[in-house]
Symmetry: C2
Subunit: 345 residues, 2 copies
DNA sequence: GTGAAAGCGCTAACAT
DNA sequence: ATGTTAGCGCTTTCAC
């Protein structure tokens, strides 16, 4: 009936319970300091009024924010990142934090993200992008927030990264094809300059070299991790006079487009060529043929990064958390499915 | 050299520029009130110190928050929602807002989201879930934030929804199959109780009825919008004695799993059966065969919802924005591809 | 065990 | 055109 139009504040609760605002505050944040009776009276008033502390005021007072900004590159492979985000979200939520997703997209956005980081709302920062928001020499890290990198390493001092062991995973791709007997390999790369691409590329070249194959056993074509690049890569492959029998794609999405394109051109997978993807997204098991790929521990990458940040926020030092390592590395797993087989003869 | 460890505040800028804090504040929010010379002196100090206003303090003072909470159901079809979110994100960013993604997942999460909404951080609320966070009678709407629903209608008074015309889209699915000559239809539903499922279901039944077909022309099987449900639905279909020639799936993901499962059992699509999906995700054009489906204007749904919220936040009234309608309806588009054809005889 | 009051950084009346 | 100051809602000394 006598409904007040504004949200209840601490003073309303104090009045209703017949105590001071300080007592209400203590009932909420340090209940053990109150007589049981007082505490119960306050809590009853809190419930009756549906009071929730205004955390903006709390933060201004110097309290800790519960908001963590997660920076995601805009053109970011949704089936991959959504699972990483899920891992982050679940882990943060368990510790009482809330995630803000900030997509990068052009310089304006970079500026806005930097301002958000400096705005006083945030407790910490998680980045999944190898390129940090940066505007005229000002980096988002200047906000001084505790920060952790996931899935890509911006290689900035003091920013501990949680990464897939991309080099090892790339070797898994190569060695799988080599073990099947392939000796001539086509590599549809990721976007130039991309962190993961750079490391995997090195891994692939190294694995080819270690197998004693000549450098021209590897034919490369630039891709971009999306369908269109997969199709374009396949057309480049089809145009080759001497087609490699093994194909490594930068990710599953481009692998699926690659396969669709070569099949449409009359080739058969894995009879005419074997294709390996990367990521292990759900669709890779529902395409035709099912895709051999590297499963990334997506949820776990997100969870581990979030955990690291939470520990940092709790005041632990990087040294004790990283145990002397400069990075946390997780392993990919080869999922051998129907898109790879021994070369036909 | 003489680097202060804390972030600069308005007082630091004032001191550096030799003016009062009020002048700094005005230089930032009402520059026209200042003499050009003063303004320039202040701005120089702002730049020199790398000052960004503390928006927590601003908000506490009564200023407007720039944070919008977007509520997303956890089991939320990433390829679909990521585009809706993109539309939201781009539109909000243009108006200077930042999006917070809040996933729903169990009651704990509901409570946390309600607390976030009540915390004073937020400017407004966007929900893509038909079920609003709710805990023991307390709804997130009690926080009193301006709010808009997208893609699903929680059917709460005062919550304007931006929706796909699901009933019309469902008719599109049915009529496409009817026009091809199918007279016996299998419907793999969405999750029971889901808003979109409810409306589409009605549309499908109505379209069948209007075509003069008997009710048993439609065979239903409960699905869940994910791969596993698509596979299970296909197995149920395969077990039927008299198999319908037309199949409508609740979404693309389940349609793709459905097709994969029936093909593995030796059936051919579209020779033995035609399959229609729903959503128009990218993968639907890269599966085998390519999937006939309903394209939802995903980006536009998000953008329209965000726009509506922005206008609400700018003080416009629901009445003037909705032009007398109680909802904003957008239309789906049939994409006829290779998974549908006339029944074989 | 509880209350009074200062102060977090900012904006907007109100002075000058 | 610019300065002074109250106060947003909360937590936390410091008194009692």
């Amino acid at each position: 009936m006598n409904q007040i139009r504004r949200l209840p504040r601490i003073g309303d609760v104090a009045e209703a319970a017949g105590v001071s605002v300080a007592t209400v505050s203590r009932a909420l944040s340090a209940p053990e300091k109150l007589r049981k009776e007082t505490r119960e009276r306050v809590m009853a008033a809190v419930t009756a009024l549906g009071y929730t502390p205004n955390s903006v005021a709390r933060q201004l007072r110097g309290g800790n924010s519960q908001l963590v900004l997660v920076i995601v590159p805009r053109r970011s492979n949704p089936p991959f990142f959504s699972e990483v985000l899920h891992g982050i979200d679940v882990t943060l939520a368990e510790a009482g934090y809330v995630l803000i997703t900030g997509y990068m997209e052009g310089v304006d956005r970079d500026l806005r993200l930097i301002e958000l980081a400096t705005s006083g709302h945030l407790a910490g920062l998680l980045t999944t992008s190898g390129q940090l928001p940066q505007v005229s020499g000002r980096s988002i890290l200047d906000a001084g927030l505790p920060a952790v990198a996931i899935c890509a390493d911006p290689q900035v001092p003091g920013l501990p990264p949680v990464l897939l062991d991309d080099a090892a995973a790339a070797r898994l791709q190569v060695n799988h094809l080599l073990e099947l007997g392939h000796r001539h390999i086509f590599y549809l790369t990721g976007p130039t300059g991309n962190y993961n691409e750079t490391v995997r590329h090195r891994g692939i070249v190294a694995a080819i070299g270690e197998a004693g194959l000549p450098p021209d056993a590897l034919v490369e074509h630039p891709g971009n991790y999306v369908f269109s690049g997969g199709a374009a890569g396949a057309n480049a492959y089809l145009a080759l006079e001497d087609r490699p029998t093994g194909v490594i794609c930068g990710n599953d999405e481009s692998a699926i487009a690659f396969i669709k394109t070569v099949r449409r051109a009359g080739l058969s997978v894995p009879r005419d060529l074997s294709v390996v993807g990367f990521d292990g997204i759900e669709f890779a098991d529902y395409c035709e043929p099912t895709l051999t790929t590297i499963a990334q521990p997506r949820f776990e990458l997100g969870a581990a990064g979030a955990k690291l940040l939470i520990d940092l926020l709790a005041g632990k030092t990087r040294e004790e958390l990283m145990a002397g390592e400069d990075r946390i590395l997780m392993q990919g797993r080869l999922l051998a499915r129907d898109s790879t087989a021994a070369p036909s003869r």
